[in-house]
């Protein structure tokens, strides 16, 4: 079994390398390309220009802390807002559509129709959705929200219906035999049984949308990507690097938050109090004494 697995992985790797050789053509350019990259980062990007975290010259900053008037802060907050709204709206849309797309919840023709709808939504990357909405409603964060919402519906919809299809069939069979309605079965049987997976997927999608906020901003759909695009056009790569580092830090924070939220739920879906929570309580008690 183990030998077969190693042979299969080895075979796939060999095939991938053959295809890569066919695709790559001239390998000589790779060494030169690395040199170009080092020159570019060394001379144009490094060191990062942290002036992006200082207040802009216009409009005049009226806040006590300058950081809150900076490009980095304004752009990042807008990106997080876009990602948050799009994730919540997309989650609700995905839940509704995926309840009709799961084979174990709906007859096959209906499930197939909704799967095709979700595939169609998903087949357009968020960048293309952003271009469409920038054309339709103009440049700004609303275009970003709509673009990300659509992509979230397509992406989460697939993850959701796959989670629904993996749930045990017996509780669904009993519910149907008892004559419970489709909405009742969905809200009172399917969601409690798959809640842990849904929560996990929701957190993943939020993190994904924050990261992707930078990409859709490039076409004018708001957020930090808008500023990255501006600095790219002005060849201010050191400021671009500073903003990229900022995004990296925010993504790590979101990942930690996601880990913290998920630690309240066990792998089996039970709610529990994580160890770090008891530790915080002890700390609080200690400081009160």
């Amino acid at each position: 079994m183990r030998k077969n697995f190693i042979a299969a992985v080895g075979g796939l790797l060999f095939l991938a390398l053959l295809i890569l050789i066919d695709l790559a053509g001239d390998w000589g350019r790779l060494g030169q390309g690395i040199d170009n990259l080092l020159t570019f980062t060394g001379e144009s990007m490094w060191p990062p220009n942290w002036s992006v975290l200082e207040a802009q010259s216009y409009p005049v900053c009226e806040k006590d802390i300058e950081f809150f008037c900076s490009v980095g802060y304004i752009g990042m907050v807008e990106t997080i807002k876009i990602a948050f709204v799009a994730t919540i709206l997309g989650f609700i849309g995905a839940l509704s559509l995926s309840s009709f797309a799961a084979k174990n919840l709906m007859p096959m023709p209906i499930a197939l129709f909704f799967r095709i709808v979700l595939s169609a939504i998903r087949s357009l990357p968020s960048l293309i959705w952003a271009i469409i909405f920038v054309i339709v409603i103009g440049v700004g964060p609303l275009a970003g929200v709509l673009a990300m919402t659509f992509y979230t519906v397509g992406y989460l919809g697939k993850l959701h219906y796959e989670a629904f299809e993996r749930m045990p069939s017996d509780s669904l069979e009993v519910s149907r035999a008892m004559g419970l309605s489709h909405p009742t079965i969905f809200t009172s049987v399917v969601i409690p049984e798959t809640g842990n997976h849904l929560l996990s997927q929701l957190m993943f999608m939020f993190e994904y949308n924050v990261r992707h906020g930078t990409v859709i901003g490039l076409v004018g759909a708001g957020g930090i990507g808008f500023y990255i695009n501006t600095y790219l056009k002005l060849l201010q790569y050191d400021k671009v690097l500073a903003l990229l580092i900022l995004i990296f830090i925010v993504v790590i924070i979101i990942d930690l938050l996601s880990l913290m939220i998920r630690s309240f739920v066990t792998d089996d879906g039970d709610v529990r109090q994580p160890k770090w929570f008891s530790f915080l309580k002890k700390l609080k008690k200690g400081s009160e004494q």
Partner: protein, 225 residues
């Protein structure tokens, strides 16, 4: 005699080939039917066919039950929502016959709490199913049926894996359903449980279903011994 709850006409059940053939029967109010026979003979398939989960190979059956919550079902694997509480699961039974849109909230709560109390699960009311023992989980499935109060309950081995004292508790609770004129079709392996509750026997053997009263079944048992 009153109208039957279930009419079966020339029914053949199975999957790729017939497990049981040419069943023609009626089930009336107040009857407790035990379906007996060796493993794999088609007892569960018969119950699942009546529950509408397996298509009959031939023939038909008709349920004369209220459209909402008239049919109850306890499958072998019980079909509980494992990540939800005891209350949530039992409430699903009450919601099957008293949907939320119809109001009657107090009646629903009363049904749920009395079913939970009747099965001795009051202490566990907010516990998730996952944290209960095997016997407690079986009692929750019975409580769900009790809260639903179906005219016809299909129960697949709902008394198995229970100790004697728990069987007594479950039967006493189910007795309230029977006393109100509801019927049960139960798949059962233990003869002592059949003796405790059944009024009629469906014995499956050689692809045929033999319908007999409990007295006829006892006589047959004696003759075989």
């Amino acid at each position: 005699m009153a109208d039957p709850l279930l009419t079966i006409s020339d029914l053949s059940i199975g999957f790729k080939e017939d497990l049981v053939r040419d069943i023609s029967l009626e089930v009336h109010s107040g009857e407790i039917i035990a379906v007996l026979g060796p493993s794999g003979i088609g007892k569960t398939t018969l119950v699942r066919t009546i529950a509408g989960l397996v298509r009959p190979r031939q023939g038909s059956f008709e349920l004369h039950l209220p459209s909402q919550g008239g049919l109850g079902y306890i499958p072998q694997r019980l079909g509980l929502v494992r990540h939800a509480s005891v209350y949530h699961n039992v409430n699903l039974g009450a919601r099957a016959s008293l949907p939320l849109l119809k109001g009657k909230r107090e009646e629903r709560i009363e049904r749920v709490t009395s079913a939970i109390s009747a099965l001795g699960l009051k202490e566990k009311i907010h516990e998730p199913i996952r944290r209960l023992s095997g016997g407690q989980i079986r009692r929750v499935a019975t409580a769900r049926a009790l809260a639903q109060r179906p005219k016809l309950l299909l129960a697949d081995e709902f008394l198995s894996e229970l100790d004697h004292s728990t069987v007594d508790v479950v039967i006493e609770a189910v007795q309230t359903l029977i006393d109100s004129g509801n019927s049960i079709i139960m798949v059962e392996h233990h003869e002592e449980n059949v003796e405790l509750i059944a009024t009629r026997i469906w014995l499956i053997q050689n692809e045929q279903l033999l319908d007999m009263s409990i007295e006829e079944w006892r006589k047959r048992q004696e003759e075989e011994e």
